[in-house]
Symmetry: C2
Subunit: 386 residues, 2 copies
């Protein structure tokens, strides 16, 4: 009960700061004495700060302004991409305070090597955060692969890295800082949900990196599926007799809307694997390059077909195009929307229900850092009392 009240008070300050103790009591419907005791504990745990005085301009004794701490407890997010490593530290207000991205060709390299480099980057990011007065209280690692619903921190399969059954702890140099792996599409969806005001409560978040993934947020919670495999949009059959896919099936969405397929159709296949092809695609499309426009139209049509299945099955409030798709939204949205308009006929469907992500490719790393922040906000007793 107290745990929940701590979270309610912390949440009220996060949403409406600056507030005095009296303001908080008025908002949350607890007595002022109870709120004061909770606030004292929250300050002791490092989650709130209390300033000298407010300039509220209201009648009555001025209170001292409470705010969520920008120092102290923080979350570390890490990301292993096919061509980069990332680290981010976010404070309790949800602000990313440290942000590091380095290019690394990770595909096909031994998992141990990649994870050791990620650990080194993590240590640098933590040192930088410490210098800012932050203290990392949880670590989450975004991976482009499947993380089953089981304890143990295993990445079951990350085809674009060449990983199979990788237990992160087996390769992490420091047993005290082992991060918890999570699928990057899931984290991108959560970052979107946590950062957009009045976000849809039930939505499908599609993200493209080297592969095509999706995540389902259902009634405000990430839905991981019975085993952790939900949201495998990339292998939905869009043209059942289409080209063979690396997965063994034919005509999967990835054969139309995956990075390699789009580059190939755009006549830019030689750019695959050499750094970041997304700005190049955007530049060519912006310049009206016909094969690039045709490739993006084809990708958008296929995405629209796969998303028709998602809308028919899940009945979401919204669809979000994240990851690299967000940067290519100008050219993808028209064909995705056209396909949805043609196909989703048995329920009302507004074109605006499909929108690009606000976070784009920052989503998974931000979501990884915010996971710890959200856990602390939901249960401040996870932090030591002082």
């Amino acid at each position: 009960m107290r745990r929940q009240n701590l979270s309610v008070v912390l949440g009220a300050v996060a949403a409406h700061a600056p507030l005095s103790r009296a303001d908080v009591a008025g908002r949350v419907g607890l007595t002022r004495a109870a709120v004061s005791s909770l606030v004292d504990e929250l300050i002791g745990r490092g989650t709130l700060t209390e300033a000298a005085a407010t300039a509220s301009g209201r009648v009555g004794r001025p209170g001292r302004a409470l705010a969520v701490s920008g120092e102290g407890p923080a979350g570390l997010g890490l990301e292993i991409g096919v061509t980069h490593l990332g680290a981010c530290v976010a404070d309790l207000r949800g602000e990313p305070r440290v942000w590091r991205l380095v290019e690394r060709a990770n595909a096909g390299r031994p998992a141990g090597q990649v994870l050791a480099e990620a650990a080194a980057l993590a240590a640098e990011a933590e040192a930088e955060a410490t210098a800012l007065g932050l203290r990392v209280r949880g670590r989450v690692l975004a991976v482009p692969g499947v993380v089953p619903n089981e304890p143990g921190g295993v990445v079951e399969r990350a085809p674009n890295l060449g990983w199979q059954g990788v237990r992160v702890a087996d390769h992490w140099p420091d047993p005290d800082t082992v991060p918890e792996p999570e699928n990057e599409a899931n984290l991108g969806a959560l970052a979107e949900y946590w950062n957009v005001e009045r976000a849809a409560e039930t939505f499908v978040h599609v993200s493209a990196g080297a592969g095509v993934g999706a995540a389902l947020v259902i009634e405000g919670r990430l839905f991981r599926g019975a085993r952790g495999f939900a949201g495998e949009l990339g292998h939905i059959p869009v043209h059942p007799d289409g080209p063979a896919c690396a997965c063994g099936a034919r005509g999967c969405l990835e054969q139309y809307a995956g990075e390699a397929a789009v580059l190939r159709e755009a006549g830019l296949a030689q750019h695959g694997g050499q750094g970041d092809p997304v700005p190049l695609l955007a530049e060519r499309a912006g310049a009206g390059h016909p094969p690039t426009l045709a490739a993006l139209d084809r990708a958008g049509r296929a995405l629209g077909l796969a998303l028709t299945s998602a809308v028919d099955l899940v009945d979401p409030d919204g669809l979000v195009l994240g990851g690299a798709y967000a940067e290519l939204a100008d050219w993808l949205l028209p064909s995705v929307r056209a396909e949805l308009a043609d196909r989703v006929t048995v329920r009302p469907w507004a074109p605006e229900a499909l929108r690009p992500s606000a976070q784009g490719r920052r989503g998974p790393l931000l979501g990884a850092a915010l996971t710890t922040v959200r856990r602390i906000m939901a249960d401040p007793t996870l932090l030591p009392a002082c």
Copy 2:
């Protein structure tokens, strides 16, 4: 708290009867005094009966056997199908005690006429239940259409009946017995979930009547979607350039696996709308009639494609073929399974995870009756105390 304890005690008796009060106390971890008070209330509300004595054979004072009442509170289920009306009354043990089906060509008739006939059938079923000592405490109506997530009891669209925006209460003769409409596929899925021991907690239940519908049970709860449209499997595009569908799109699952499409491919189109074509299909298929076998294979392949999308997106523990598909499972299962085996490659998928429903076409009507039963079992205070 007491409400929850009442439900726990009632549930323990339902699962393990006969039990004495002492047995219940041992099972639920409450004191014997507390259990006795709860049991008295449950008897007073008509949910439990207590027999004279047990022959437990165990050491100690023999208790008197408690059991869930087979008289008293009951749920009424009603069903409007394209070619029939149905009514069922189930007692608190979940047993269907009254079961009435009448043939009626309901397609295209005024909704008011159909609902008046359903109300007459409901009154007959209630009278029969009363003669058995049962008292109907809730009424649910299964319809082959969309019921949005809004109060008001409106069937937004039931294309195979020709209904659009039908508010049940507007046409029901007795304002005291207006049933709550619910989509038949949802009710079929719930009947399956409630009746199968160790049912999957997250599964997709496909059902075929005149149309093709599905329902998603997620972590033991029906998921209706953001607006109530979830599970529209019938209009998933399986062959995007396929035949035009009545919905306005092309190549929808219904064009391959819907009743009209299967009858047409089987060369039995003239049987559409004339009574029940399912036994005829089963008979022809059983006799090795090549066009019927080809039609069912084509339907199964298309179902496999649509279910691949469902598995990729939702990651269910299981898939259930319900409604008429259950009766045709011998001929559908092989091709559905083959398609799933070819297409679901990015996660483990066991062929046995796809199975025919235990309820078949009885599911929606049974689910409608059990909805009230389950509500009472979850909150016995819904019943008047005596």
